[in-house]
Symmetry: C2
Amino acid sequence: MTVTATDAVVAAAETAVADQEPARLARCRGPVLHPRPTGRDQYTISEVAEHTGLSAHTLRWYERIGLMPHVDRTHTGQRRFSNRDLDWLDLVTKLRLTGMPVADMVRYAELVREGEHTFAEREELLTAHRADVRERIAELQDTLRVLDYKIDAYADARRASEGV
Amino acid sequence: MTVTATDAVVAAAETAVADQEPARLARCRGPVLHPRPTGRDQYTISEVAEHTGLSAHTLRWYERIGLMPHVDRTHTGQRRFSNRDLDWLDLVTKLRLTGMPVADMVRYAELVREGEHTFAEREELLTAHRADVRERIAELQDTLRVLDYKIDAYADARRASEGV
DNA sequence: CGCTTGCTTGGAGTGCACTCCAAGTCTCTA
DNA sequence: TAGAGACTTGGAGTGCACTCCAAGCAAGCG
């Protein structure tokens, strides 16, 4: 497989998001547990597992079902993940945490592999998922109100019985 | 099974949340699709399925695994759900939508059956779940930012190619 | 009375997303 | 160079939350 100009453009687009993300979101999180070592572009499967929190099993399974772009191999066939692979896994992990079905992520991965002419469909897919995510946030906040109410009720009951 | 004073108190506490909820949350939703008919306290399983969006299979299964309080039966053994059952199902549905495992909901149902002395543990259980929900909202909002960024990028690409 | 439709049960089946296994190969450290 | 430990594969197994099935009972209608 050769790397075409189109591939490069797509890859750049794909990578840009992950690249700019840590900076934007840094304030939301504590220190990253397993910072990516700088100046390296080769990771064993267990290093990637450690870094992403996915199991090595899951990483192999992702590759089997077409959710990973082709991962480099050593001359003896062992996987060597690149920083770009890690970027991709960061995105996949985010989408997974927001409940996107694996089948949809595989579809998205296919579109990415197919090149630039799938931009429109990718945008559609992500837009649909964004609507989902927004709905789910609303549901969660809905439930949060109920939880607050009930927890308050139980706390009141506790205080009343302790205070007597 | 007799209804004790404790049961009544607990039931009132359980019901209160569901009762006050539609009013509070009405602004967030369109018209309710299947409003509960007034002046009725007897529903067949298919009516409840229609109302809650759960399947009749699922309702029977909820009862089997102890997620429903005992449901009344006709003299021939058919289920007749009460308004209180519907209130309970509303809560269960909310908790389920926010990803509470069924096992945890069953545990909560048990605590409710056991009476007032389990208030503290119920509060704990709900508080733990609330923390979960908050974390998940944060995750979703995190991903929302990434989605916005990527969708924008694709939209820009589309506009650029159309505008040339 | 027969027909249709709805309800009952325990148990089996489904789909998703992993998760593990067995048997063999490779890499690293002493 | 020997041994520990990490890596490989296809396929089987797991856990969750339903989802359906078969066989039978019950209610309402023409």
